[in-house]
């Protein structure tokens, strides 16, 4: 449908949400689309890299082990230990998986030939938010007991009773709706918008290059250059978003572990 419009439409057709609706690569299966392959590729790449990096577990690390340790140490210490505190080690595998999974798939957005961030398909961020949601609630319930945990959320201690009329609905919405939604939508929207932005400059430059008017041809390289510049900016956003989703998940876990929030 969208292809039809692009082909038949007069003038420049700006990229739209339909550009994210990629067709199946083999046949018509919903499991053989580009994002599915990219996600599978990311799992393989991350596994291979980190198994190779950690295989020797040497006291004096090789370059490979050092680079793997740098990423692991960042998640373990700067996010896990710093935020969660003494019980952090239980959550390091999850946070580590979350961070590497998100950053790899995000960065795929500017890797030549791959050039598509799987996280711009909202299904993946939903899944990640769901994992985060289940884990931090599970941790809270296990630590404090279901009743006490829910009571702590609904009736924040140390607050005048009248305020509960306002506070209780807000807190419940925060914990069960806003948190998972913002977690997933923030990641999704950043990747979606970033990809769209790159598409605008690249397809725009392409369109201008093929335009009959000489003025458009001359200006075309600027569009491409801006597209390349935005790619670097996107790289920053991609790393930042991976950091943020991991950081927030750690914060939620830390909050659930704390007796009072």
């Amino acid at each position: 449908m969208s292809q039809l419009v692009v082909a038949g439409g007069p003038g420049f057709v700006p990229p739209s949400t339909s550009d994210f609706d990629l067709p199946s690569i083999f046949g018509h299966s919903a499991y053989s689309t580009k994002p599915v392959f990219l996600v599978a590729l990311s799992v393989i790449l991350i596994s291979v890299f980190f198994i190779a990096a950690s295989r020797k577990a040497a006291v004096v690390p090789s370059k490979l082990q050092f680079s793997g340790e740098a990423i692991y140490g960042f998640v373990r210490n700067s996010i896990g230990e710093e935020i969660i505190g003494h019980e952090f080690m239980r959550f390091v595998p999850f946070l580590f998986t979350l961070f590497t999974f998100v950053i790899t798939n995000n960065v795929f957005g500017i890797v030549p030939f791959l050039q598509f961030p799987a996280m711009s398909h909202v299904g993946f961020p939903y899944v990640l938010a769901l994992f985060s949601f289940v884990i931090f609630h599970y941790v809270g319930i296990k630590k404090q007991g279901l009743g006490k945990y829910l009571k702590g959320i609904a009736f924040m201690p140390g607050v005048p009773k009248a305020v509960y009329i306002l506070l209780t609905p807000i807190e419940i919405a925060t914990f069960f709706l806003v948190r998972p939604l913002t977690l997933s939508l923030r990641l999704f929207a950043n990747m979606f918008a970033g990809h769209l932005l790159l598409l605008v400059f690249i397809t725009g430059g392409d369109y201008m290059l093929h335009d009959s008017h000489i003025f458009m041809k001359v200006l075309s390289p600027f569009s491409f250059a801006f597209g390349i510049g935005m790619s670097f900016f996107e790289f920053m956003v991609q790393c930042l978003q991976a950091y943020i989703i991991t950081l927030l998940t750690a914060l939620f876990i830390a909050g659930a572990l704390a007796d009072e929030h």
Binding site: Y31, A57, V92, H121, G123
Partner: protein, 175 residues
């Protein structure tokens, strides 16, 4: 334009695809299992080994330092002991030297006194001897001289000795 709107409406980016969610769950779980079982324990092992190596090194260094301090204390003690001993020996030697000198001096004095006494005795004996022989000879000489002068034989023993005695007594008186 109308087509475009239709196309956009057809793909709502906020509606997830079931297939992708299933893939997401499987992929994430798989990655989680791999990282948890293969990667995290190995990195933790490397961390533990490193901590151990550093800690072990530090403990070793600390022990070496303690050993060195103990050895220093030991040697200082020994040195002080040796110094004290040397001081004692020096004092002993000085005292002994003084004693030896004193002993030698007294021995020498004794010897000197003995030698002096012996010399005095021998001189006295010789004087007595000389005196006796002198008296004898002077008597003989004087008698001979007198007999020659007087021409009188004074070979009578009694008289002779009387004359000598008188002579000597006169000599002593005149002295």
């Amino acid at each position: 334009m109308n087509h475009l709107v239709l196309a956009e409406a057809a793909v709502n980016p906020l509606i997830p695809k079931t297939a992708e969610m299933i893939v997401g769950v499987i992929a994430f779980t798989l990655l989680f299992l791999v990282l948890r079982s293969k990667v995290v324990p190995m990195f933790e092992k490397a961390y533990a080994l490193r901590t151990e190596a550093i800690q072990g090194g530090m403990e070793k260094a600390e022990k070496a330092q303690q050993d060195a301090a103990a050895a220093l204390a030991h040697y200082t003690l020994q040195l002080n002991e040796a110094r004290g001993e040397a001081q004692t020996i020096r004092e002993d030697a000085r005292a002994q030297g003084a004693a030896i000198i004193e002993e030698l001096r007294s021995k020498a004095q004794e010897e000197a006194a003995r030698i002096t006494a012996a010399a005095t005795a021998s001189i006295e004996a010789e004087r007595q001897q000389a005196l006796t022989s002198l008296r004898l000879e002077v008597g003989t000489l004087a008698t001979e001289l007198a007999s020659k002068i007087v021409g009188e034989a004074l070979d009578d023993q009694v008289r002779q000795s009387r004359i000598v005695d008188r002579f000597l007594a006169d000599m002593e008186k005149s002295k």
